[in-house]
Amino acid sequence: MSEAANSSVVWKGTVASVALLIVFLAAWQWGPGLLRIPPFIIPPLSMVFDEAVRMWHVSGLAFHTGVTAAEVLAGFILGSLLGAFIGYMIGMSPTAEFALSPYILALQIAPKVAFAPLFILWMGFTIYPKILVAILIVFFPVMVNVLTAIRTVDPDLINLARAFKASRAQIFWKIEFPASLPPLFAGLRIGSTLAVVGVVVGELVGGNMGLGYLLSFGEGQANTAMVFVAIVMLTLVGGIAYLLVILIEQRVLHYMPKRAQMGF
């Protein structure tokens, strides 16, 4: 694709995106009234906005958002590190992979969020069970991607390094590790959005902090606008986490062809 055609795609795409957003927000504001949907089912945009301002001053919206964001960050970082570490370990040992694969599969199939009540039983209404659910849910996509990447490194590349008398550590650091970075980042992207899911489920199950708590509090009060505010804030937290991963990815994988990087 030529430079000019490329920038025209970006320009037209941006315009279309912004137009779509305006249409969506307008539909949210006036659609419910036109379709006679009562505000306790779908509150219009302005009502949700007013509720957000009220919550900011009265319900500690900033505090709860901060708690959730911190849990997401902690869960995401720890889950990614653990997933990557185990992925590399298993990837380098075919025996370990063979022995562990049925258990990994079983754990992968088990719905991770179902562990939330268990973790709360163990650790009480603290932030830790929420972080733990996030770790568990982030762990798998990262580990599986790293494992697959290590397993699919071109054997001729390994042979090339071996022919130059590379040690096992050199083969890892000079070939396997850099080759695994693009799939690792693909796993991190998925993990960053899943971390939010893990944290929210944990907060919904028990505790009195975080956006998940506001979500269930709003539900108890039949305050639909409050639920919407919590959903919007959660999307924001997830979106920022995702964006951070993309920014780091673009720095680390700067050598990739530009087109492969484009798009989210």
């Binding site: 090339l160 130059f164 590379a166 000079k174 050598y255």
Partner: protein, 259 residues
């Protein structure tokens, strides 16, 4: 010392334990390549040519017999041999110059020296202005030239080349063949070239060895008596070339056997 033998296969047999009955890829092959000589190895697909290359580079051990490089038995990968494949095997996260330095870096040669060697090779192969590019920014022919530079950077005495130019287009191939021929001549390197291209075998080598179908054996040896081994484009036009190619076709039963 023109008669010094750089690369030798002595009665090499290779069997692969494959699903119940073993498969013999190469049977009793003996080859000797003298210092500075370029020898081509041709034969039908699956005749074990690449197996011989792996044995020569020490990546696999033969079932019987031995390979020798510079008179030393090959027991594993060693610094005297370097190989180059059809795939360029460039690392996409390394720039051209960093790719060229890959081998010397592993061998622990000091940074200043490896940079000097890489720069010199990039100059010779007309790649200097691309030294900061990444592989995806290069054409197939340029990538293969970078691979050649990486192979030469470790300063091996013997080069093992496995169809190095079969993935590039015909015109680029001729340019690369010329560059390879001149580089080998200039550096006085010894090379074993595996190829399917009969014309390539004739124009680039001092001798051509013909292998049989599996289990691979050497069935013929043809000395190429044409001057200017470093000028394959000139050699191409030599009247004797057709005779050599015809003889190779005959030996390989091309024309009488279904592909």
């Amino acid at each position: 010392m023109p008669d010094l033998i750089r690369l030798e296969y002595r009665d090499v047999t290779m069997r692969f334990a494959q699903s119940a009955r073993p498969l013999t890829a190469v049977a009793g092959v003996s080859i000797a390549v003298r210092d500075g000589e370029v020898v081509s190895l041709i034969g039908p697909s699956g005749c074990g040519k690449s197996t011989l290359l792996n044995i020569g580079s020490g990546l696999t051990a033969p079932s019987e017999g031995h390979a020798f490089v510079d008179g030393e038995r090959v027991e594993g990968p060693n610094a005297h041999v370097a190989f180059m494949l059809q795939k360029d095997l460039l690392l996409p996260w390394r720039t051209v110059v960093e790719n060229v330095m890959f081998g010397v870096e592993i061998q622990g040669i000091p940074a200043a020296e490896r940079r000097r060697r890489a720069q010199a090779l990039l100059e010779n192969l007309k790649l200097a202005e691309f030294s900061g590019h990444y592989p995806h920014q290069l054409s197939g022919g340029m990538r293969q030239r970078v691979a050649l530079a990486r192979t030469l950077a470790v300063d091996p005495t013997v080069l093992l080349l496995d169809e190095p130019f079969s993935a590039v287009d015909a015109q680029t191939r001729m340019v690369l063949q010329r560059e390879l021929a001149q580089t080998l001549k200039r550096a006085g390197k010894t090379a074993l070239l595996i190829t399917h291209d009969l014309l390539e075998a004739v124009t680039l080598s001092d001798r051509v060895l013909v292998m049989s179908r599996r289990p691979g054996r050497i069935i013929d040896e043809i000395a190429i008596d044409i001057p200017d081994r470093d000028e394959p484009l000139k050699r191409r036009l030599h009247p004797k070339v057709t005779d050599y190619v015809n003889r190779l076709m005959e030996r390989l039963d091309i024309g009488t056997v279904a592909a």
